[in-house]
Each structure stands twice: as structure tokens, then as C-alpha cells.
């Protein structure tokens, strides 16, 4: 009934890494026309308010491991999630930076 051999819900990535990288780079592409500081903040706000925390931590873990396949702007924006300011309220609209 349960397809693969994996039985534990805690180990491993919640979503295949390749798909996360694709999604993150797409978000980076959207914010790319903004000046760098605003682009980074836009990406942070988006990941913080829309992504399941397991997806965020998998992305950060991948960045720690070198971030292969991720655009530079994505690495910089996602890295803001580690700072305490990352907890500021989510918002709609242009990046607030």
C-alpha cells in the first residue's frame, strides 16, 4: 500500500531537492528586476510567508552545503531567513526594504 521503502516521516527531504531549487530560482527570477537589497527582502518575505518550514530549512541546508544550482540572488535572499528580522510580519506588495 505504501509505495517506497521509506517508513519514517522525519528523515530526508520533504520535497525533492531539484523541485525546491526550481521553485526558489523562479521566485528569484521574479524579484531580479528590483535593486539587490529589495530583491533579497522580497525573496525572504515570500519564503517566510508561503513556504512550509520544512521546505525553508531544506533550502537553507542546501545553501550550507554549497547551494549548487541556486542563483546567487536566491542564496543571498534565502540567507536572510536566518536573521532575527526574518520574523517580521508577512505582507503583500512591493519588497519593503
Amino acid at each position: 500500500m505504501s509505495g517506497g521503502g521509506e517508513r519514517r516521516g522525519v528523515a530526508g527531504e520533504v520535497i525533492e531537492l531539484d523541485r525546491l531549487i526550481t521553485m526558489a530560482n523562479q521566485i528569484g527570477d521574479f524579484f531580479a528586476p528590483y535593486p539587490p537589497e529589495r530583491a533579497r527582502e522580497g525573496l525572504r518575505n515570500h519564503l517566510r510567508t508561503y513556504w512550509d518550514p520544512r521546505m525553508r530549512s531544506a533550502l537553507l541546508a542546501h545553501i550550507d552545503a554549497g547551494g549548487e544550482g541556486l542563483d546567487e540572488g536566491v542564496i543571498e535572499g534565502a540567507s536572510l531567513l536566518r536573521e532575527s528580522a526574518a520574523e517580521k510580519s508577512g505582507y503583500y506588495g512591493p519588497p519593503q526594504a
Binding site: 500500500m1 505504501s2 516521516g9 521553485m23 521566485i27 517566510r48 512550509d52 510580519s89 503583500y92 512591493p94
Partner: protein
């Protein structure tokens, strides 16, 4: 055929098909519906209707309706009919077992825009308050989630700014990626009436749709763009507006964030988006882009209506923002006859969006990460709630494939048929241990389910729907539910079986609860709707009978101002190649509805017995095809079979089909690409090739089994198993 029988009773209710939400009078003799007639007092339809609402209602008593709950241990076992209590107990114990074994986040749910506001609200309550996570999504994920995102970003409210009647005051109507005469016929007729009175019509659509050219309707400008180039074209229109100084500085200064306007004007005003640059990319004459921009900006009252041809793209949210940007820049907000308006596919997509059936927001689009909002729900529901966003529908399936998502309550949805990349969905479902389907029929997804809870149609329940113009109307029970319970009662009993003690005397009490927790609905109640007929949100203390036009004085953003988003054009990764040289796009026809689960079970099928593939003469000649040939349609993701017909409605290089029949399996070929912001699938662009099927191949496919769809599905599953 004359109906000689006199109805005993009339019930005023609302059609559940498209997002127009026509008021209907259901006429009954005992427990039999004998006629549906459009209601003259209905504010969305004023006594008009289309052939779906008028005639396609008999599905409700179709023999295929499931009338008894069913369970099974494994999807390889036959279904076992059980009583309701046993079904609830089984479902509850399985969900609990999964949460103990795999964690609190290993289960979730999805609600349907076929269901009432009350049912959608209860489904998200079930997931948040009872399952204790935010893995809740709505089928709007796969159609209009970019609308919520894109319009919230620019004007602060993810909804139509106008009421339908507003179009009768428009001087210019721009239709983007929608075909109202087929998909939203009653609104389409009103639009045509206004065009006949002299309003100018601009259509942006890859296909020469019925809205472009049909009796009583001809577009002044048709931009037959290459699928996937919406953002390029809309930026180019904005380019002309900005470079020719056709924008409205007074409006922007008074009502918008000027700084963001300047940043935006610099982007779209750059040479990258000049018509001469974009025209060749989008396959459109640059002069037509200029004409469209000049007509739209001249107004004086220009309005935009759009559909899934905007949203279902990898830049779907960006496309919606483009529309918001354009309307703001030309001052086309806050009056009659202007605005930006999504045409919603299902009867209650707007309600599904409003009521917090999303993994990241509560009702009113308020973030789950916001403490004050979350605390208001915790106080009402008496439990602590998860402060982190949950998984979206496509991510639930992704997480099922990695073993992190094991159980799901699916209310009124059929992901195997309606979600993209069918093989991927099936593999994900097979990896789950408890799939609960709550539906009218044993749908395609039920093949992979463990619990089946019989649903009730909108003719069998009480509640409310919110249509595409934000109009909240009563759904009234016309006949008794065939399986004994209205859908909202089933969800409540499932919550009870999980140990959450709650009860409602009737659906109106659910509406009262959601009104207490949702500012835009705060004045809504059965009593109000019975009294005034219907009300457009916001319905609150400032507008006790609702609001027809939004944004008259200010925009619902922190500073009250509309704003501009930067909308760079990023081409989709789905591109034609030597192997797949054609672009497939999809649409609807008047007589059928979505995947046809309901309309195909009525006499409406006589009007549209199968989906066909439209192709230009040149593309057919190159492939040696003639009208009526059976063809194989293949993409990188899968293949299906269809009949091809020659059509002048599509340009060379573009082919088109409807998706109303399960046998067509359009989603066997669609890709796994999705919108950058919302993961709304990119249904509208798929690179494909078409080859002629030898008569023997086709004949074999058709004659061996009664239901080719089922056989092919099994073959697809077998193929997936080989991969796994």
C-alpha cells in the same frame, strides 16, 4: 418538449456551475426536480441563464451517485459498504494512526469550490483545529491562486473590483485569456450587448475565440499571442502607455504609491518592451500592440476581464500584476465601468479563496504567521493553532512521493483528472495510506482511496456561494441529500469522530461563525440574504447590504494606496523543440462544465460528445492529416488520443482542445511547471507533437474495453510502478 406536470413547490437557489452564479428557481414535485428556470430577481443574471444551469441538473439523481459510505484496507481490495458511523470511525482512527506514526504534518486536506462557503470554512477548520496543522488547500490553487496573489499585491484585494452590471457602463472592454461567451455565457451575453452598443473590444488570446468573432461580437483588436507571452505583451502595452504619456498622473499621485510607479515605468518603458521588440517574440504585429494600448488608455471607462489564460502560467501571478499595474496607471479603478475582474471557473471559487482554505492565510487573506489573527481563531475554536504555513496541494503530492505525506481528506475534488502531470499524481496517491474522498461519484481519484464518503450536490444542501463579482447568495436545499447528509454535516461528524466536540443546528450557524472571524463577511447572515436576496462583500457595518464597486475612496492596503509591481518577462521553460514543435493550449465549451463529471451525466452531452483537437490547415498538411483523423498527442510528460479538426481559430504552431471528457486525458500531457508564486500549474502551455494513428491502433484502443480511459489509466499506473 412541453412539460405537462405542474410543479408543487419553488425554491430560489443559485446555479453551481460557473462563477457567474445565476439565481434559479428550482421547481419540484415531491422529491423530483421538474424544471430549473432562471430567477428574474437574481442580481447576477437578471432572469437569464445558459444551457448548463437550465438543463444540466439531472446528474443529481444519476445511478452513478454513491449512496452509501465505503471503506477498504488497501486500494487493491474491493470497496466494502458500511454505515456512516463506521466510516467516520475508520477514517478518524486512520488519520490518528498516521499522525502518531509519521507526525502531525503527515496529513492534510483540500476543499472544493463546488462546495459552499460554510463547507469550505469547515474543511479548513477541520485541518487547522483538529488535525493541528496548516496543510489545507483549495482547488483555486490550480486555477485562480495567482489572482489572489497578484491583485493583493497591487490593489490589496484578490477579487473583482466591479459588479457584472458595471460592464454596461464600459467604453472599452479588454478580455485577456478568457472566452466569456463560452465559459461565462450569461456575463458573455451582457458583454456582447455592450459591444453592440458601441463599446470597443480588445481580446488577448492565442485562439480566435468566439468572443473575438461570432454573431453579434467582433473584437476591434485581437492580439493572437503565442501561448506563454502574456507578460511580454502586457508590459509592451504598458510601454506604449508610459512612452506616449497616456497614463493618468493625477490618479496615480492621488491614489497610488508614486515611487513604485516610477520604478515600474522605468522597467516597462525600457526598450526591452517596445512593441517592435516584443511583437516578434509574441507573434503579434507591433502596430496591434500600439492600437490596443491607445484604445485601452483612452477609455474614458476601460475595464479588464480575464481568466485562466492569464493565471495558468509559470508567470501567472506576474500576469495578474500586469493587469493591476496597467489599470492603476491609466486611472481605471474606483468608478463604474472600469476595474480588473477575474472570471472564476467554478461557482464558489471566490468563496474558496476568501475563507482561509489556504496553507498560509486565514479568511480575509490574513497570514497564519500573524499573531493577532491567529489568536482570534484560537479564542473562537478553543485550541492552539499552527503558526507556520502548511503544504500547498502540489507540494502535498510532492511530499507524498518522499514519504512525508500519508493521509488526505479530499472534499469534492478529483486530482487525478484535474491536476497536472497525471502520472505524478497517481504515483503520489499510491504512496499514501489513507485517502478519504468525499464526492458525488466514484471519481478517478477514488481508485486510489481508502474511504469514500458520499457527497451532496448543491441541490441537496443549505449554505452560501460567493460568485466572481463577490456576490454572496443563498444555496437552498431543493431535495433531500441522497446519502442522508449535507456535506457540511459530514465534515462536522468527521471532526466529532476525531474527538473535537462541535455542533451546528444548521448551516446558517456556520455562516455566523465565519462572519465573526472574517471582516469582509462580518455582516453576512441567512437573515440578511433572505431579506435582500444577495450581497457583495465587503458586507459590514459600513456597508450593511454589501458593496458593488471596490476601491472607490482607497485601496485596502496599509497606507490605502494602490501600488505597482515590477513584472519582468521570464519565458517559460516549456518550449517547443524539434521533437515537440507545437504549443498546446486548452479552453471550454458552452454546454459542458470543467472535467464534465456532472454535465456529462445529463442530456447536455448531445451537444458535445467528445473533445477535439483544433489545428491550422498548414500544420495538418505537413503531418498528412485530414479532418476527423484520430491522432496521438504527445508531450515530454505523456500522451493521449484525440480527433483532430481543421480550424481557422488557431495560428500555425498552436493547437487547442477542450478538457471536458475523461477519455481525452488532457492532463496526461500537461507539464509539472507552475507559477513562481503560487504553484498554480502551467496548463496553458505544453510543447507537443501530433501524429496520425493508424486505423488499427485507434480501433484497438476503442473496441477492446468499454472504457478506454480506465484501461489507459491502468496502463499509466503500471508504467509508474515500473519507474518506482
Amino acid at each position: 418538449m412541453p412539460n405537462p406536470r405542474k410543479p408543487e413547490k419553488e425554491t430560489i437557489t443559485i446555479c453551481a456551475y460557473c462563477g457567474v452564479g445565476c439565481g434559479f428557481k428550482a421547481e419540484t414535485i415531491g422529491e423530483e426536480i421538474v424544471r430549473m428556470t432562471p430567477w428574474k430577481e437574481g442580481k447576477a443574471n437578471h432572469g437569464h441563464s445558459c444551457v448548463k444551469g437550465r438543463f444540466a441538473y439531472d446528474y443529481w439523481r444519476h445511478p452513478d451517485r454513491v449512496r452509501t459510505p465505503m471503506i477498504r484496507k488497501s486500494i487493491d481490495d474491493p470497496w466494502q459498504e458500511v454505515g456512516w458511523d463506521e466510516a467516520f470511525a475508520h477514517a478518524a482512527s486512520e488519520l490518528k494512526r498516521l499522525q502518531v506514526t509519521y507526525g502531525r504534518s503527515s496529513v492534510g486536506g483540500v476543499s472544493s469550490s463546488r462546495c459552499t462557503n460554510e463547507e469550505i470554512f469547515l474543511t479548513q477548520k477541520f485541518v487547522r483545529a483538529v488535525l493541528g496543522n496548516n496543510n489545507i488547500d483549495n482547488c483555486a490553487r490550480i486555477c485562480h491562486s495567482p489572482t489572489q496573489f497578484g491583485l493583493s499585491a497591487t490593489v490589496g484585494a484578490g477579487a473583482a473590483s466591479q459588479h457584472f452590471d458595471s460592464v454596461l457602463q464600459s467604453d472599452v472592454i479588454m478580455v485577456v485569456g478568457a472566452n466569456p461567451t463560452e465559459g461565462h455565457p450569461v456575463f458573455g451575453s451582457m458583454m456582447k450587448r455592450r459591444v453592440r452598443q458601441g463599446a470597443k473590444l480588445i481580446v488577448i488570446d492565442p485562439r480566435r475565440t468566439e468572443s473575438v468573432d461570432s454573431p453579434h461580437c467582433r473584437a476591434d483588436v485581437h492580439l493572437a499571442l503565442r501561448p506563454g507571452t502574456n507578460v511580454a505583451i502586457l508590459n509592451s502595452i504598458a510601454h506604449v502607455v508610459v512612452r506616449e504619456n497616456r497614463h493618468d498622473p493625477e490618479f496615480i499621485k492621488a491614489r497610488c504609491e508614486w515611487r513604485e510607479f516610477e520604478v515600474w515605468a522605468e522597467l516597462v518603458g525600457s526598450d526591452d518592451y517596445s512593441p517592435d521588440t516584443i511583437g516578434p517574440i509574441a507573434g503579434v504585429d507591433p502596430e496591434d500592440i500600439r492600437r490596443a494600448a491607445r484604445i485601452y488608455s483612452s477609455g474614458p471607462r476601460s475595464t479588464i476581464y480575464y481568466g485562466l489564460g492569464v493565471t495558468e502560467h509559470s508567470q501567472g501571478s506576474t500576469g495578474v500584476m500586469c493587469l493591476g499595474n496597467l489599470a492603476l496607471s491609466c486611472g481605471m479603478y474606483g468608478r463604474e465601468g472600469v476595474g480588473v475582474n477575474p472570471l472564476r471557473g467554478q461557482g464558489n471559487v471566490q468563496g474558496g479563496s476568501c475563507l482561509g482554505s489556504w496553507p498560509h492565510v486565514f479568511s480575509g487573506y490574513r497570514f497564519v504567521t500573524d499573531d493577532a489573527t491567529r489568536e482570534s481563531f484560537e479564542a473562537e475554536w478553543g485550541v492552539g493553532l499552527d503558526s507556520e504555513p502548511g503544504l500547498r496541494l502540489p507540494n502535498m503530492f510532492d511530499a507524498a512521493l518522499t514519504g512525508h505525506f500519508k493521509g488526505m481528506y479530499i472534499m469534492g475534488e478529483d486530482p487525478v483528472q484535474s491536476d497536472p502531470n497525471q502520472n505524478h499524481i497517481i504515483a503520489a496517491l499510491r504512496n499514501m495510506e489513507c485517502v478519504i474522498i468525499h464526492d458525488l461519484f466514484l471519481n478517478e481519484t477514488a481508485k486510489y482511496a481508502h474511504v469514500f464518503l458520499p457527497g451532496s450536490s448543491s441541490l441537496e444542501k443549505d449554505g452560501t456561494f460567493t460568485n466572481a463579482e463577490r456576490r454572496i447568495s443563498r444555496v437552498r436545499k431543493v431535495v433531500e441529500p441522497v446519502a442522508g447528509y449535507q456535506d457540511w454535516e459530514v465534515t462536522v461528524k468527521l471532526m466529532n469522530a476525531m474527538g473535537y466536540d462541535i455542533s451546528y443546528a444548521h448551516a446558517g450557524e456556520v455562516l455566523d461563525e465565519l462572519a465573526r472571524l472574517s471582516p469582509a463577511y462580518s455582516g453576512a447572515s441567512f437573515e440578511l440574504l433572505d431579506r435582500v436576496g444577495s450581497a457583495q462583500w465587503p458586507v459590514d457595518k459600513n456597508a450593511p447590504e454589501g458593496t458593488e464597486v471596490l476601491h472607490m475612496q482607497q485601496f485596502p492596503r496599509a497606507n490605502g494606496r494602490g501600488t505597482f509591481m515590477l513584472t519582468g518577462y521570464v519565458p517559460t521553460d516549456e518550449r517547443v523543440s524539434e521533437q515537440y514543435p507545437l504549443l498546446l493550449t486548452t479552453g471550454r465549451i458552452l454546454s459542458q462544465y470543467n472535467v464534465g463529471t456532472q454535465t456529462r451525466r445529463t442530456a447536455n452531452s448531445m451537444w458535445h460528445s467528445e473533445d477535439v483537437l483544433e489545428m491550422s490547415r498548414g500544420d495538418m498538411q505537413v503531418r498528412g492529416l485530414s479532418d476527423g483523423d484520430r491522432v496521438k498527442l504527445a508531450s515530454r510528460f505523456g500522451s493521449t488520443r484525440l480527433k483532430v479538426v481543421e480550424s481557422e481559430r488557431v495560428n500555425p504552431g498552436v493547437i487547442y482542445t477542450t478538457f471536458h471528457h475523461a477519455e481525452s486525458k488532457a492532463n496526461a500531457v500537461t507539464s509539472d511547471l507552475s507559477d513562481w508564486a503560487t504553484n498554480c500549474p502551467e496548463y496553458k502551455v505544453t510543447a507537443v507533437e501530433v501524429t496520425k494513428l493508424l486505423p488499427a491502433d485507434w480501433w484497438q484502443g476503442e473496441s477492446v474495453a468499454e472504457r478506454p480511459a480506465r484501461r489507459e489509466l491502468e496502463a499509466a499506473v503500471a508504467a509508474v510502478e515500473e519507474v518506482v
